[in-house]
């Protein structure tokens, strides 16, 4: 079993890149791999609690809770979240808040890194 670290910048709603990331993380965790997930840029909006699941929109809260239960570590970029008006009490419980070096540190101990970057 290996360690996969995924970084994602894409917004949850609108882009399907974050949906992809969550599904890939889930599939890897199900196979017994260790998965770390780093959310930065518009992806940090996914860490906001109380997302209303309207049928037209992807929602991150439920899949995120499932990933956390499976032992996936999820961390979001604090500055990116604050800049979007999301504050600590608004965060989904269990998601870590930290700065970018968290991502690099996870990369250190990873066998594979997939960086889902540009939009």
């Amino acid at each position: 079993m290996g360690t996969l670290t995924i970084g994602c910048f894409a917004s949850l709603v609108g882009s399907k890149s974050l949906d992809f990331t969550l599904k890939l993380a889930n599939a890897a965790a199900d196979k017994g791999h260790k998965v770390n997930l780093w959310l930065s840029g518009n992806a940090t909006v996914m860490g906001k609690n109380h997302q209303k699941h309207l049928k037209d929109y992807s929602t991150g809260e439920k899949p995120t809770m499932e990933l956390l239960k499976k032992g996936v570590e999820i961390c979001e970029c604090e500055a990116c979240a604050l800049a979007r008006g999301i504050q600590k009490p608004d965060a989904i419980e269990g998601i870590q808040w930290n700065a970018m070096h968290w991502y690099l540190a996870k990369i250190y101990n990873s066998d594979r890194v997939l960086h889902v970057g540009g939009e």
Binding site: L24, D30, K31, R112, L114, V116, G117
Partner: protein
């Protein structure tokens, strides 16, 4: 190097993919990248399909767009998320998302 490239767009503003060289190169078509495996623009299949023989396309992303396996170029293997995890750990030590 063994390089697995996730192609997530049909038209892209970056030309990086044309320049990449690798001992073993794999293309995993996801999201709108799947159209590379199904469309024949002006009757021709995507030039990306000629760049390597290691070609994969994500089943869920085909179906989401109203496409079927029958639409996929014969050279491309249809895979699941679970298969993608295995490709990542078994076949490609480095990954790119383009």
């Amino acid at each position: 190097m063994n390089l697995g490239v996730f192609i997530n767009d049909y038209k892209s503003t970056v030309e990086t993919v044309d320049r990449l060289k690798a001992d073993k190169l794999g293309f995993i078509f996801v999201q709108n990248g799947v159209f590379h495996t199904t469309l024949k623009e002006h009757g021709k299949s995507s030039p990306l399909l000629d760049k390597t023989t290691n070609l994969y396309v994500l089943a869920e992303d085909i179906a989401t767009r109203g496409l079927t396996e029958a639409d996929v170029d014969k050279r491309v293997k249809v895979v699941t998320y679970s298969d993608v995890v295995d490709l990542i750990f078994n076949d490609y030590e480095k990954l790119a998302w383009l």
